[in-house]
C-alpha cells in the first residue's frame, strides 16, 4: 500500500464539494468515494469529514435532507446548493492556479540545482 498523504490545508472542502456535486450523497459514502477515487492515496480523515460537512452546510454551500438509502435506512444526504456550485468553480480555478504556480516553482528550483 502506498504511503497515505495528509490533505493540504483547505482542500478537504474542495474535495467534498466535488464529490457532492455528482449527486446527493451521505457522509459515509463521501468518505468511501474519496478513498476509492484517490486510490487510497488521499486519507480523508473521517474525524474531520463531518465537521467539514457541517461547516459547509452552515455556510450555505450544502443543504441536507433525510431520506432512505437503498438498504432502507434513514441517512442524511447532502446536496450542492447553487451558491455551493459557484463556490466550487471558484475553488477549482484557485486550485488549478495554485498547483500550476507550485509546479512552476518546483521546476525552477531543479534548474537552479543543476
Amino acid at each position: 500500500m502506498a504511503a497515505r498523504q495528509d490533505l493540504p490545508q483547505g482542500t478537504l472542502d474542495l474535495l467534498i464539494m466535488k464529490v457532492v456535486a455528482l449527486g446527493p450523497v451521505h457522509g459515509y459514502a463521501i468518505a468511501q468515494r474519496l478513498q476509492q477515487v484517490s486510490q487510497d492515496v488521499v486519507q480523508a480523515p473521517q474525524g474531520s469529514l463531518y465537521p467539514a460537512l457541517h461547516r459547509l452546510e452552515s455556510r450555505g454551500f450544502l443543504d441536507a435532507i433525510w431520506r432512505e438509502t437503498e438498504s432502507g435506512r434513514e441517512a442524511k444526504f447532502y446536496r450542492l446548493t447553487k451558491k455551493g456550485r459557484a463556490q466550487l468553480e471558484v475553488e477549482i480555478a484557485n486550485w488549478a492556479r495554485l498547483t500550476e504556480a507550485v509546479s512552476l516553482i518546483l521546476r525552477l528550483s531543479e534548474g537552479v540545482g543543476q
Partner: protein, 882 residues
C-alpha cells in the same frame, strides 16, 4: 443556520448529529463485516477510523457557527444559579441599581419631553418665528413683537414662507352658561394651516372671515365644547358672547391643541380687530408672527427675502420702519428656567447612579478576589480568559438588567407624582410620556452600567497567573485589588461630596432668602384678576364708576379690612417698566433709567402692609385734573435724589405725559421680583401712581389688566365666594380669575430653590448611605483578607488599638483622596449652580466645610465597625485559618 434556530432547535440538531454519526459507524461496521472482519473487531475499527466520537461531535457543533450565543446562554444560566445562591447580595445590588436606573430613567423622560422633543406640530423644523429688529437698542433691547401692518405687508410680499399672526386675548365668555374668563387667540386665517392643525368639526378660519366688518366667527376648543355645549354636534353655527361681542361657532379645535403650554379655548380672526393700534406701525402692543417655510425654500432664503422686504418698507415708511429689519428663527419650545432645573437634577441622578455602580463594582471585586482560586482552577482546566471575562460581565449585565427593569417600573410609578411635585407649572408637561425612547434609554443605561461595574472585576480578577495563585493559596494579601477598591471608594466619596455640597449650598441659600423681608405683609391677602363687564368698557366714566362700585361693595363683605385695585401685583408675573428722570433736562428717551410703575387705589398700602416712610399716600383728592402725583420707594428715592428728602420733588416720566409729576410720599421697597430674584434684578426702583389719574384714553386698556387685592381678618380664601357674588355686577358678567393669596405668591418665588434643595438633599442622603456601605464593605473585605497577617501581629504583641489604627489608616486614605477630588469637583459645579440658580453664592466656606465634615464623620463611623471586629481577632484561630 441562524443563531436563534440553533438556540431553539439545539436538541433537535444534536439528535440529528447523533443519528448521522451512528449511521456512519453502522455502515462502516457492516462493510467491514462484509469484507470478512469479525463483528467485534469491525466495531472497534469503525470507531478508530472515525476518531474520538465526542470530539467529532464537538467539532461539528463548532462548525454550526460562532459559539458565543450558546456560551452566553450558558453564562446566563450559570449567573442565575450563582445569584440565587446569594439572594441578599443580589437583592441589595438589584435595588441599588433599580433606584439609580429608575431615577435616571424618570429624569430622562422629563428631559426628553420638555427639552428634546420638537414642537407638537407636523414637520416642526419648517416652522419659524419672526421678530422685528431695530438698528438702535433701547433699555428694552432691540428685538420687538410685530406691528400688524408690517405683518400684512410681509404676508402679501413673501414668497418663500406662509405667515400667520396671532396674539393671546383673555376675556369673559358670558354666554352660554355661567360667565367665565377664558383664554382666546386672535389669529390670521392661515394660522392653523401654518401649524398644520385641522379642526375636528366644522371649518377653519377663511380669508373672508379675516377682515374688518366680516361676520364674527370663532373656533372653540374641545374642552369648551364639552363644558358648555355638552358635546352637542349642533354647536356648529350656535353663538357665544365673548367680551360683549357675539360670535358664530365655525368649528371645533382638536382636543390636544395647545399653544406653548396654554390651553386655548377660543380662536377668532385677528382681521376683525379694529383697535386703533392695529394700524400703528410705531406704538402697539405687538403680535406674534409665525411661519412655515414653503417647499423648496430654506430658512436662509426666507431671511434674505425678509431683508429685501424690510428695506422696501423702511423707505416706504421711514418714520416707523427706518433701521427696522425682520429676523426669523426656527421655532423652538419655550421652557424658561425648567431647562436648567432639569439638567441639574439629571446630573444629580446620574451621579447617584454612578455611585451605585461604583458601589456594586467594589462589592463584585471583593467577591471576585475571594473567588480567585475558583477562577484559577477553571483557567487551569482550560477556560479561556475571554470566557471568564464574559462570564463576569454576564453576571453584571444580568444584575443590571434586573435592576433596570425594576427601575423602569419605579419610573413609571413615580413619573406623575414627580410632575405634580414640580414647583409651578412644568412647561410642556403634556409632552412627557413614557415611550420607546425611554425604554431604549433605560436599556442602554442598564447595559452600560452593567458593563461599567462588571468590567472592573472582570478584567482584574481572572487576569492572573493560575499557577501562582494556586500555589499561594488564600494567604495572599490582595495588594492590587486593594488599590483598585480604594480608588473605587474614593471616587464614590468624591461624587457624594459634590452632591452634599450642592445640597448644602442650596439649603443655605434658601435659609438666607427665607429670612429676607418681602417688603409687605403677605398674611391674609387675597389677589385676583378681575374683568369688568364688557358693556361698560367703552365709556371712561362708566369704567370709573364700575371700579368705584366694586371697591365699595367689596369693602362691605364681612371679614374684609381693606380693598384696593392694582395693575401689577408684587411677585406675580407682569410688570410695567417706565423711564424716569429727576430733572427737566431729559436725555434721549432710550437712555432713561427704568422703574416699575404700579397704578393703585388709595387703600393699597393698608392692603399690602407696605410702610409709609415719608410724606403721604394717595387719597380722594388725587383725581383727573388735579396735580399728577406719585409715591416712590426708597430705592427710587435714593437713585433719583440721593440723600435729599424726596417729598415735594418732581419726576419727569415721558410715558405719563410731558409735564412732571410730584413726589408726595416715600414707601419701603417691595421685593417685586420675588425673594430669590429681586436683589439682582435689573429694574428695582418702584413708583406708584393713582389709578384715578390714569387718562381716559388708557382707561380701557388699564381696566383689562386690573386686579383686586383684599386684606382680610378671616382666612383669605373664605371670602372668595362672597367676592364672586359682590363683583359680578348687574349684568352678571364680571368674573374674577387667577385667585391667589400673597402668601402663595411669595412661596412660589422660592419654590424652585425649595424643590432643588429637597431633591438634592434626598440624592445626597442616598449618596452618603451608598458611600458608607461602600466603605464598610471594602474595609470588611480587606480586614478579612488580612486576618492571617493580623494574627501574626497580635501574636507578636500588637494590641487591639494597633490593629484598629491599621485599618482606620487605610480608610482615612480613601476618605481624604475622595474629599480632595470631590472638593475640586464641587468648586467647579458650584460655578454652574451660581449661573443657573439665582441668588446662589457658590463660595460658602462654612457650608462647604460643614458638609465635608458630615461626610468624613459618616465615613469614619462606617469604617469603625470592621476595624473593631478586626481588632478583636483571636491570633490562634487566625493563624490556623487556611
Amino acid at each position: 443556520m441562524t443563531w436563534w434556530r440553533r438556540l431553539v432547535k439545539r436538541n433537535e440538531l444534536d439528535e440529528q448529529l447523533d443519528r448521522e454519526l451512528r449511521f456512519h459507524l453502522e455502515q462502516h461496521e457492516a462493510d467491514l463485516i462484509a469484507a470478512g472482519s469479525d463483528p467485534e473487531a469491525a466495531r472497534r475499527q469503525a470507531r478508530i477510523d472515525l476518531g474520538g466520537i465526542q470530539q467529532v461531535r464537538e467539532n461539528c457543533r463548532d462548525a454550526w457557527g460562532p459559539r458565543w450565543i450558546e456560551d452566553f446562554w450558558q453564562d446566563f444560566r450559570y449567573t442565575l444559579r450563582s445569584l440565587r445562591q446569594r439572594p441578599g447580595f443580589s437583592l441589595v445590588v438589584a435595588l441599588t441599581l433599580a433606584l439609580g436606573i429608575g431615577s435616571t430613567a424618570l429624569m430622562f423622560t422629563v428631559l426628553d419631553g420638555v427639552l428634546l422633543k420638537p414642537l407638537p406640530y407636523p414637520e416642526p423644523q419648517q416652522l419659524i418665528g419672526l421678530q422685528e429688529k431695530t438698528a438702535k437698542a433701547t433699555q428694552f433691547g432691540n428685538l420687538w413683537a410685530f406691528a400688524y401692518p408690517n405683518f400684512l405687508d410681509l404676508r402679501r410680499d413673501a414668497l418663500s414662507v406662509d405667515l400667520a399672526a396671532w396674539h393671546f386675548v383673555g376675556g369673559t365668555l358670558s354666554r352660554p352658561g355661567e360667565p367665565e374668563n377664558v383664554l382666546g387667540v386672535e389669529a390670521s386665517s392661515a394660522f392653523l394651516k401654518v401649524l398644520r392643525v385641522t379642526p375636528v368639526q366644522g371649518r377653519d378660519l377663511s380669508p373672508e372671515d379675516d377682515r374688518p366688518g366680516a361676520t364674527p366667527v370663532a373656533l372653540v376648543s374641545d374642552a369648551l365644547w364639552r363644558r358648555t355645549f355638552g358635546q352637542n354636534r349642533g354647536a356648529i353655527g350656535a353663538s357665544l358672547v365673548f367680551d360683549g361681542r357675539q360670535y358664530t361657532i365655525a368649528g371645533i379645535l382638536p382636543p390636544d391643541f395647545r399653544l406653548g403650554d396654554e390651553q386655548v379655548d377660543l380662536l377668532t380672526p385677528i382681521g376683525q380687530n379694529t383697535a386703533p393700534y392695529m394700524l400703528n406701525r410705531d406704538a402697539h402692543p405687538g403680535i406674534k408672527v409665525w411661519g412655515r417655510i414653503r417647499q423648496g425654500a430654506t430658512i436662509e432664503s426666507v431671511r434674505s427675502e425678509l431683508t429685501v422686504i424690510a428695506s422696501r418698507l423702511s423707505s416706504a415708511y421711514p418714520k416707523s420702519n427706518e433701521g427696522r429689519t425682520f429676523i426669523a428663527e426656527t421655532l423652538r419650545p419655550v421652557t424658561g428656567t425648567a431647562g436648567t432645573t432639569i439638567w441639574l437634577l439629571f446630573a444629580a441622578v446620574v451621579a447617584v447612579l454612578l455611585i451605585g455602580c461604583v458601589n456594586v463594582a467594589s462589592l463584585l471585586v471583593a467577591r471576585a478576589v475571594s473567588r480567585e482560586r475558583e477562577m484559577s482552577v477553571r483557567v487551569a482546566l482550560g477556560a479561556g480568559r475571554g470566557r471568564l471575562v464574559r462570564q463576569c460581565l454576564a453576571e453584571s449585565v444580568v444584575l443590571a438588567l434586573s435592576g433596570g427593569s425594576l427601575g423602569l417600573l419605579l419610573a413609571v410609578a413615580g413619573l406623575r407624582p414627580f410632575i405634580a411635585m414640580w414647583p409651578g407649572d412644568l412647561p410642556r408637561a403634556s409632552e412627557i410620556h413614557l415611550d420607546w425612547r425611554v425604554g431604549l434609554f433605560a436599556l442602554a443605561v442598564s447595559v452600560a452600567s452593567g458593563i461599567l461595574f462588571g468590567a472592573v472585576p472582570a478584567l482584574t480578577a481572572p487576569a492572573l497567573n493560575p499557577a501562582r495563585a494556586l500555589r499561594e493559596g488564600s494567604r495572599t494579601v490582595a495588594g492590587g485589588s486593594w488599590r483598585l477598591q480604594g480608588t473605587l471608594v474614593a471616587s464614590e466619596l468624591a461624587l457624594a461630596v459634590v452632591l452634599l455640597v450642592t445640597a448644602g449650598v442650596l439649603g443655605s441659600t434658601l435659609l438666607r432668602l427665607s429670612a429676607l423681608d418681602p417688603g409687605l405683609n403677605v398674611n391674609n391677602v387675597l389677589v385676583a384678576r378681575l374683568a369688568l363687564s364688557p358693556s361698560v368698557l367703552n365709556e371712561p366714566d362708566r369704567i370709573r364708576s364700575a371700579w368705584q362700585n366694586i371697591l365699595d361693595r367689596v369693602r362691605g363683605i364681612p371679614g374684609v379690612q381693606a380693598v384696593a385695585t392694582v395693575d401689577t401685583v408684587p411677585m406675580r408675573e407682569g410688570n410695567n417698566q417706565l423711564g424716569y428722570w429727576p430733572a427737566a433736562d431729559l436725555p434721549e428717551r432710550t437712555r432713561l433709567p427704568l422703574a416699575l410703575a404700579t397704578s393703585v387705589t388709595p387703600d393699597y398700602l393698608n392692603v399690602m402692609g407696605i410702610e409709609l416712610r415719608a410724606g403721604r399716600f394717595f387719597n380722594e383728592t388725587d383725581r383727573q385734573g388735579s396735580q399728577p402725583v406719585v409715591v416712590i420707594d426708597e430705592t427710587l428715592a435714593r437713585r433719583a435724589f440721593g440723600r435729599e428728602p424726596a417729598v415735594g420733588k418732581r419726576l419727569w416720566i415721558p410715558d405719563m405725559g410731558a409735564a412732571p409729576v410730584e413726589v408726595v410720599g416715600v414707601v419701603n421697597h417691595v421685593r417685586h421680583w420675588g425673594l430669590a430674584d429681586d436683589d439682582q434684578a435689573e429694574v428695582r426702583a418702584q413708583f406708584y401712581y393713582p389709578f384715578a389719574q390714569v387718562p381716559d384714553r388708557f382707561l380701557r386698556r388699564w381696566s383689562e389688566l386690573m386686579s383686586v387685592a383684599v386684606r382680610t381678618s378671616t382666612p383669605p380664601r373664605s371670602i372668595i365666594q362672597p367676592l364672586r357674588r359682590e363683583i359680578q355686577g348687574a349684568a352678571h358678567d364680571q368674573v374674577i380669575y387667577e385667585i391667589r393669596t400673597m402668601d402663595q405668591l411669595e412661596g412660589a418665588t422660592l419654590a424652585r430653590h425649595r424643590f432643588l434643595m429637597t431633591l438634592f438633599t434626598a440624592f445626597s442622603a442616598a449618596a452618603l448611605i451608598l458611600a458608607c456601605v461602600g466603605i464598610y464593605g471594602v474595609l470588611a473585605f480587606l480586614a478579612g483578607q488580612r486576618v492571617p497577617e493580623f494574627g501574626v501581629r497580635v501574636a507578636l504583641g500588637a494590641r487591639p488599638h494597633d490593629i484598629m489604627r491599621l485599618i482606620l489608616r487605610q480608610s482615612l486614605g480613601m476618605i481624604l483622596a475622595g474629599v480632595a477630588a470631590g472638593s475640586i469637583l464641587a468648586l467647579a459645579s458650584g460655578r454652574l449652580l451660581e449661573a443657573w440658580v439665582s441668588a446662589v453664592r457658590a463660595n460658602e466656606p462654612v457650608t462647604f466645610s460643614a458638609m465635608i465634615a458630615v461626610l468624613v464623620a459618616a465615613a469614619l463611623i462606617a469604617s469603625l465597625l470592621p476595624a473593631r471586629r478586626a481588632s478583636r481577632i483571636d491570633p490562634v484561630l487566625a493563624l490556623r485559618q487556611d
